[in-house]
């Protein structure tokens, strides 16, 4: 069975790179969500304090 090493290289190189890209994007999204939610919570807390 002949192996197409060019295609294999694409699968290996592009594939491994894409795993990193996908998980880095996901890590950024999770971090950003946490940041936004903590800002909202802090903002709400400050608004509640001002009302009091």
């Amino acid at each position: 069975m002949g192996v197409d090493w060019g295609f294999a290289g694409q699968i290996g190189g592009f594939g491994f790179g894409l795993v990193f890209v996908v998980l880095i994007i996901l890590a950024l999204a999770i971090w950003l969500t946490g940041l936004i939610l903590s800002r909202i919570t802090t903002g709400k807390g400050e608004a509640g304090d001002k009302k009091k």
């Binding site: 894409l18 795993v19 996908v22 880095i24 994007i25 890590a27 999770i30 969500t33």
Partner: protein, 390 residues
């Protein structure tokens, strides 16, 4: 007398006796040594059953003739061949196992420390390393018939994720499914034996002693609920072919964290996944028949599987050490080894080794982050393989 009645004794071969013995070894490891008993007991018993002659558990009808072992393209006619055909060949059981896993998994360590996702990505190195090794061996020994699709199926063993391995192999190289599934599950059970020497080889005692604060940042309920929705959307948009695995994984988690579907979450995390584990374990064992398993290609898959697994562990550790060069707060590089997706065995190994090196250290929660990231990473790698060669 009773010439019309046939017992199995006369048809026992050396091959089937070897495989029955192997099944008993798996049972011994599961029952006496308590090594992954939920996997090894069904697999071991399935192996014993299928190697007893004339049981007909994996019978298939091919061109009107009944054959004893499973045949791709044949009509299943035995109990286990039917379970395999409708459960695995139809790609149902592996994906539903992900639903149960999602319901069982606590993603808080990952949400609290998202950079551990990078360690999960790094630990996929073994998948691609074994992919190239498989192609190389396939090139050197053409009789093994290892092409690109077979190499993808062998490589994914490095992710140490049984359901993903079965799902991908069934799609790309179904004739390899017995060997890859057994290799993946065996290596998952052997995590405590395979990983420690690789970790010790790549870390100094000082590095293994690195202390990590036991507390992670608090994660709000809203974050927990948003996590499965955001993760499913991002990953499926980027790698659409990972949808069956990631979709079920995240749905299972949503059932648990939403707090309003407790009954469904409880079923998914307990009864449902237990039923699926029984069916899957028996089917994998049933693929360990002498004629299907005692072949050079199975041994090649086993050999490459351990290479893949060790390479994943090694690269995870090396990546964690690299991350330490750029981060203010040092991480214990051993947690990189947990980037393989054998949840939670791999994290437990790191915890145990961490405590041996520094009794003050409690690394379990820190190692769970890369461990869960590894599950996601392997499913993504499988989706990429499918997108490129499926």
């Amino acid at each position: 007398m009773l010439g019309f009645f046939q017992t199995g004794f006369g048809s026992l071969t050396w091959g089937s006796i070897v495989m029955i013995f192997l099944g008993c070894v798996l049972l011994y490891l599961g029952i006496a040594k308590k090594m992954e008993p939920l996997l090894l007991v069904p697999i071991g018993f399935g192996t014993v059953l299928v190697n007893l002659p004339f049981g007909g558990l994996m019978e298939c009808i091919v061109a009107g003739k009944v054959v004893e072992s499973y045949a791709i393209g044949g009509e299943p006619a035995g109990l286990l061949s039917r379970i395999f055909y409708y459960g695995i060949a139809w790609e149902i059981i592996p994906c539903l196992i992900f639903l149960g896993l999602g319901a069982m998994t606590d993603f808080v360590p990952l949400i609290a420390n998202p950079k551990t996702l990078i360690l999960g990505a790094g630990a996929q190195f073994g998948v691609y390393f074994a992919f190239f090794m498989a192609l190389l061996i396939g090139g050197l020994w053409p009789d093994l018939h290892i092409g690109i699709k077979e190499a993808c199926s062998i490589g994914i063993i490095g992710g140490a994720d049984g359901p993903t391995t079965i799902y991908l192999t069934n799609k790309l190289a179904p004739h390899f499914i017995g060997a890859t599934a057994v290799a993946a599950y065996t290596y998952m059970a052997l995590v405590p034996i395979i990983q420690p020497p690789v970790i010790k080889l790549l870390t100094t005692k000082k590095e293994r002693e690195i202390y990590m604060k036991p507390q992670l940042r608090p994660v709000s309920k809203t974050e927990e609920i948003l996590f499965p929705v955001i993760t499913a959307a991002i990953i499926i948009l980027l790698v659409p072919k990972s949808a069956p695995l990631i979709g079920m994984f995240m749905f299972g988690n949503l059932l648990t964290v939403s707090g309003v579907t407790d009954r469904l979450a409880d079923t998914a995390a307990n009864a449902f996944i237990n039923i699926l584990t029984i069916l899957l374990g028996l089917c994998i064992g049933a693929f360990l028949s002498a004629e299907a398993f005692l072949q050079v290609k199975s041994l090649a898959v086993f050999g490459l599987g351990v290479v893949a697994f060790a390479a994943s562990t090694a690269f995870g550790v090396v990546l964690a050490k690299l991350m330490n060069l750029f981060s203010k707060e040092k991480i214990n590089p051993m947690i990189g080894a947990a980037g393989v997706s054998a949840v939670p065995m791999s994290a437990r190994v790191v915890q145990k080794m961490g405590q041996e090196a520094n009794p003050r250290n409690f690394l379990l929660m820190h190692a769970m982050g890369p461990n869960i990231a590894g599950v996601i990473g392997t499913a993504v790698a499988a989706g990429i393989f499918l997108g490129m060669v499926g």
